[in-house]
Amino acid sequence: MKLSKEEIAHLAKLARLDLPEDKLERMTKDFGAILEYVDRIQQIDVEGVEPFTMPSRDQGWRPDEAVESDEVTRELILSNFPERANDLLAAPGVFETPKK
């Protein structure tokens, strides 16, 4: 299996990675070698085999409860915001194109 540079560019878009031309070329080359290696699993007979799933302890769901955090934790979370407006997280508008 080989992917073209255009296909890698599409994956980069899906993964939200803004890759310059030289990196796309490099990734395309690396992908060739890696896929050639991992494609050996295509030869294994998996007829009738179930995909592995982690044994569950049946605790899949927990109550969706708001838990108070202490002041120290709260301040640390806020201080990690890349941009903030008082105690709110500032984020780019979904439908806006900001002026440069």
């Binding site: 994956l11 899906l14 993964a15 939200r16 990675l17 995909p51 990690n80 984020a91």
Partner: protein, 472 residues
């Protein structure tokens, strides 16, 4: 007589209990060692000097008052830079988390602190634990303590070097496909990956959640056992932690025990001669201790690496989507939303991380998911069945930890597949979820070699019991 920083945890604990040394002296000895060597080795990203000394003093007071906490009270340890410690920066070796300060404690580190351990600092690692050489750290590579032109292995290279170079008495690492055992092997220390579910992953930055596990680096099997005893256990914050019976060291004899040698590993091509020689010497020791060595068939040895390089990137692509420049970490400012995401991520992540995100995005994408992700999950079932079958015949399995000794910096950096092949003997253990330890083979002053012992699910007691016999 050993210097204080050269002591094992067990030795230090005995001297502390007798009042012959203090935690402060022990901690100072480690800090001095870091100061003299870390400029050249770069095992640490950050040293918590003041906090460490303060913790040591508190431990000494507790001991004087007869209120000693757990087994690790007063013992200076290091943690990998992907485990959160509230109020301390944590970067996972990545530029995207430069300046990030942990808002809460990881369970494993909290348990160390509650047991009285002194946390010396956070150690260098391949970015988000992706790599086998610690060259993929955004903060520069860690060097091998015996030859600074060589790599220490990875991704927990900083923790391995910190222990090997006596900068601490023990350390925590994380292991997704070999990231504790491979650097332990290359640096000549003990490195244990516990059974999946033995140690909580809460507060460990996720790489591949179904494979990640925290474990100890130590100077002896007994020290590794002391750390595992402290950090293990079910955690309401990590649903994958198991309610299996707690680990307790056993140190039983090997008489009558069978150790399987998979022909797929021992007869594999590409094993360096020094690795074959040293590991066979180690096997002879196990035989002399009463074990019966039998050749076994452990199929899918090669395919396990392929399975790993499908499943792991899939989980990586999902887990690392949280680094989008929104709530924390690097954000490129003044751009439309899509470009904020795409430019922040492209600037913050290194090439290896992006390579794996793209691979995972591919293997999960419509049209390919069945041929890659689903198929790999089916082969994972076969790999687990192969281990179940093998463990019906033998008690333990042994392989070399790595095919080669420490390689030169840069040697494999531009060849991802060559770098991935470093983990050819370690990844299937994570895919199966069993525990394994890398034990240093006899030290002749040359590049270290590790023997990997693999145990049955939740039988770390048997595993470390056998490991200890290699130390005598």
């Amino acid at each position: 007589m050993k210097l204080l920083n050269e002591l094992t945890i067990k030795e230090a604990r005995e001297l502390l209990d007798k009042g012959e040394i203090t935690s402060r002296k022990l901690t100072e000895a480690c800090l001095d060692q870091i100061k003299s060597l870390d400029g050249a080795l770069h095992a640490f990203i950050e040293v918590f000097e003041n906090d460490a000394l303060e913790a040591a003093d508190k431990s000494d007071i507790r001991r004087a008052e007869g209120n000693t906490l757990g087994k690790l009270d007063g013992i200076p340890l290091a943690i990998k830079d992907n485990m959160l410690l509230q109020g301390k920066p944590c970067s996972a070796g990545s530029k995207i988390l430069r300046g990030y300060v942990a808002a809460y404690d990881s369970t494993a580190v909290r348990k160390l602190i509650e047991a009285g351990a002194v946390i010396l600092g956070r150690t260098n690692m391949d970015e988000f634990a992706m790599g086998s050489s610690t060259e993929h750290s955004a903060y520069g590579p860690t060097k091998h303590p015996r030859d600074i032109e060589r790599v220490p292995g990875g991704s927990s290279g900083g923790s391995a070097v910190a222990v090997a170079a006596n900068m601490c008495l023990g350390a925590l690492g994380s292991d997704t496909g070999g990231s504790i055992r491979q650097p332990a092997s290359l640096c000549g220390v003990v490195g244990l990956k516990p059974t999946y579910g033995r140690v909580s992953r809460y507060g460990l930055m996720a790489m591949a959640s179904s494979l990640d596990q925290i474990g100890p680096f130590a100077k002896s099997s007994e020290d590794a056992a002391m750390i595992l005893e402290t950090i293990q256990g079910q955690d309401p914050s990590d649903q994958t932690t198991s309610d299996a019976e707690a680990f307790k060291p056993a140190w039983d004899s090997l008489k009558g025990k069978k150790i399987g040698l998979p022909k797929q590993a021992w007869k594999a091509g590409g094993i360096e001669e020094r690795v074959s020689e040293k590991t066979e010497e180690a096997l002879a020791k196990l035989k002399a201790a009463g074990a019966e060595l039998v050749e076994i068939d452990l199929p899918y040895a090669d395919e396990a690496l392929a399975v790993y390089y499908i499943l792991m990137p899939c989980e990586v692509s999902a887990n690392l989507s949280r680094f989008d420049g929104m709530r924390y970490g690097l954000r490129k400012i003044g751009l439309p939303l899509f470009d904020t995401y795409a430019q922040s991520r492209a600037e913050g992540f290194g090439d290896e991380v992006m390579r794996r995100i793209l691979l995972g995005t591919f293997a999960l994408s419509s049209g390919y998911i069945d041929a890659y992700y689903v198929r790999a999950k089916k082969v994972q079932t076969l790999i687990r069945q192969a281990y179940e079958k093998a463990f019906k015949e033998v008690d333990l399995i042994a392989t070399p930890t790595t095919p080669t000794t420490a390689f030169k910096l840069g040697e494999k950096l531009n060849d991802p597949v060559a770098m991935y092949l470093e983990d050819v003997f370690t990844v299937s253990i994570n895919v199966a979820g069993v525990p394994a330890v890398s034990m240093p083979c006899e030290d002749d002053g040359g590049m270290p070699v590790g023997l990997q012992l693999i145990g049955q699910w939740f039988k770390e007691d048997e595993l470390l019991g056998a490991a200890k016999l290699l130390e005598s």
